[in-house]
């Protein structure tokens, strides 16, 4: 009963989550959903890093994911602040309507 889940499962999970996140960023129109998709991508990277860390037998990957978590929190804070300011002035978070300047 103690057989381990093979490494490739984690890598595939990471890759899938990353792709889901990337597709979410490209197809969703709501700024908050895009923000969440980006967070999903970062967490996919974390899974990949930790899995590789286990495979390589050193801790660099885990340390790195700690840094990513911290940076992702800072990024989310800045992003939410921008979202709040934008919503207060525009009353919309649909990025198709946020088009004062041409994309």
């Amino acid at each position: 009963m103690s057989a381990e889940v093979p490494l490739s499962y984690y890598l595939i999970l990471g890759a899938l989550l990353f792709i889901i996140g990337a597709v979410g960023v490209l197809t969703r129109r709501h700024a908050l959903v895009i923000l969440m998709s980006i967070e999903l991508m970062l967490n996919a990277v974390n899974i990949t890093l930790v899995a590789f860390s286990r495979m390589q037998g050193n801790l660099t990957g885990q340390v790195f994911s700690l840094f990513i978590i911290a940076v992702a929190a800072a990024e989310a804070a800045v992003g939410l602040a921008i979202v709040i300011v934008l919503f207060n002035s525009r009353e919309t978070l649909n990025i198709d309507e946020i088009n004062l300047m041409k994309w």
Partner: protein, 130 residues
């Protein structure tokens, strides 16, 4: 059980979890179904309205939250995550010695700068003074 697991060794540890999920979902569905068969069905408006401590509901439940909640939440997340860096430091504290202590004090000092800044700017006041 062993026969059942043959060829699925990689998933071995997860079979109990899987069985548990199946049982839980089945139990939920069956219970709901039986209840629907057995219970009386006599709706009237008061009964259908959402329950708010017995008082008739005043407005939509989907309300915009006070903006302060967001700011406090964002600040919380920031300082909370930074605490993650304290764990490895605490685990190795004995080996790091004075050097590690000073390093972490610098780290916390910089965090405190951010904290004082937020404090001074009134981000922590629940109601803005003046």
């Amino acid at each position: 059980m062993e026969v059942f697991l043959r060829g699925y060794s990689a998933l071995g540890p997860y079979v109990p979890v899987f069985l548990f999920i199946v049982v839980a979902v089945t139990f939920g569905i069956v219970t709901l179904f039986i209840a629907k068969l057995v219970r009386p069905h006599r709706p009237y408006p008061e009964k259908l309205s959402p329950y708010e401590c017995g008082v008739p509901p005043l407005m939509e439940a989907r309300e915009r939250f006070f903006i302060r909640f967001y700011i406090i939440a964002i600040l919380f997340v920031l300082f909370d995550v930074e605490a993650a860096f304290l764990y490895p430091w605490a685990v190795l504290y004995g080996k790091l010695g004075l050097y590690g202590f000073i390093e972490m004090m610098i780290f916390i000092g910089i965090l405190l700068v951010g904290y004082f800044y937020a404090w001074r700017k009134g981000a922590l006041d629940w109601v803005k003074e003046g």
